[in-house]
């Protein structure tokens, strides 16, 4: 009885490690497929459209609202200390350092990652991938690598757009509605936000998250059980795993970057 339990645990652990190993081998194959893709940029451009352009709207809207909420909440707290002028710093730092990369990655997982997984999973379920192999077309190069590359490229761009729109959202609420001084809002922000420490580290974060989110999305699709249930499970796993990994990595990256 107890032995059965232990055996079950061991099997799960082995399965987990095996899957992890498959994911890394898969990543290697994907990356080795990238040079071939660069010779045919039209594949990547199509995926950039699917992954990046179609995600733009949700990023713009959420970025603006997140910025507005930050402006509202920040104003309420800061006005207790008579420091409303610091609203710009607060909004900009929270967006550039944390919320920009993280929320963008979460939205990206929900909007683009799930679509990637479902698409690749369905290709596998309908045996299109095997069909390609039969025709001596490498699905890694033709299907996986362009999607991975597109995700990796569009994440930092989306995160930058998110942060910028968020700052203007905070500006709209803080300066436009609540009456914070226009000059102090910008000048304090420009005074305190460091190009190297804050903005560059935020961009590095978004690159890391883009890498992870794109990797998980294409791997889950490629590794899906080729049935309709398997594909739906893989899609769910993409969103869950990406969110957890991004949040965990965010803590580690923050500790490395901003913890003295």
């Amino acid at each position: 009885m107890i032995l059965d339990r232990i055996q079950g645990l061991g099997r799960k652990a082995i399965g987990f490690v095996e899957r992890l190993g498959r994911a890394h081998l898969f990543l290697l194959r994907t990356i080795s497929g990238i040079p071939g893709v660069l010779l045919r940029p039209s594949l990547v451009i199509r995926q950039l459209y699917m992954v990046g352009v179609l995600t733009l709207l949700i990023i713009l809207v959420s970025g603006f609202f997140v910025g507005m909420v930050l402006g509202l909440q920040g104003y309420n707290t800061l006005s207790d200390f008579g420091a409303e002028e610091s609203l710009g710093v607060m909004v900009a730092l929270s967006l550039v350092r944390e919320l920009g990369p993280v929320v963008t990655a979460l939205l990206f997982a929900g909007r683009a990652g799930s679509a990637l997984t479902a698409e690749i999973g369905l290709m596998k379920a309908t045996e299109q991938l095997s069909g390609m192999e039969m025709m001596a077309v490498d699905p890694m190069r033709r299907v996986i690598a362009p999607r991975f590359l597109a995700g990796f490229i569009s994440m930092p761009l989306l995160a930058a757009i998110f942060s910028l729109v968020g700052v203007y959202g905070g500006y709209f609420v803080g300066v436009g509605l609540l009456g914070v001084d226009d000059g102090a809002f910008w000048s304090q922000m420009q005074d305190r936000v460091e190009l190297h420490d804050d903005i560059l580290n935020g961009v590095i974060k978004s690159f890391v998250f883009g890498f992870v989110a794109a990797w998980i999305a294409v791997f889950e699709g490629y590794d899906a059980v080729p049935t309709s249930e398997g594909v739906s499970r893989a899609t769910t796993r993409t969103v869950v795993h990406t969110s957890l990994t991004v949040l965990g990595l965010d803590f580690i990256l923050t500790a490395l970057m901003f913890g003295d």
């Binding site: 039209s42 990046g52 190009l195």
Partner: protein, 158 residues
């Protein structure tokens, strides 16, 4: 399948918007614009106590930012903190007897180095050391001195 041309235009706009957002973040939100891209020179100043001064803290003259703190070291021989100030080349005519003090912006704000030009004919050049310095006010010391002097006055009164 949509027209390739439309897709390419959309992707082009997307990439351009992303780049523009990054650029705007750097220019509008961060301190890049007031860092001064021009050349600079360094001078040093030794302080008994720098309080909470940090690398990259501002250096100001009459409230105008002219540079940044480049490095902070401790001199083993004189037991003083040596602060290296990087000053923008545009502000290159400080007299030799300029004095440097460490101030606090606001009651609890960050600390910065304030320069006060003297009257000498010769100017400070690269690598010079400012002779007249005034340390940071450390709150505990100020409070301690106040209490001490208050107690002293009370003693005299009795």
């Amino acid at each position: 399948m949509r027209n390739t041309r439309v897709i390419e235009i959309a992707v082009g706009i997307f990439v351009a918007a992303g780049m523009a957002a990054l650029f705007l973040l750097a220019m509008q939100v961060s301190n890049l614009s007031n860092m001064g891209t021009g050349e600079s020179y360094t001078i040093t100043a030794a302080f008994e106590n720098i309080g909470g001064l940090k690398v990259r803290s501002p250096v100001t003259v009459s409230g105008v930012r002219v540079g940044r703190v480049d490095a902070i070291d401790y001199d083993n021989n004189s037991f003083e903190a040596v602060v290296t100030l990087r000053i923008n080349k545009a502000y290159s005519s400080f007299p030799e007897d300029t004095s440097a003090s460490i101030f606090t912006s606001g009651l609890l704000g960050e600390q910065y180095v304030g320069l006060e030009p003297g009257g000498s004919e010769a100017n400070l050049v690269e690598g010079d050391r400012i002779q007249l310095t005034q340390s940071a006010l450390v709150m505990e010391q100020v409070v301690g001195q106040f209490l001490y002097s208050a107690a002293g006055r009370k003693d005299e009164g009795e």
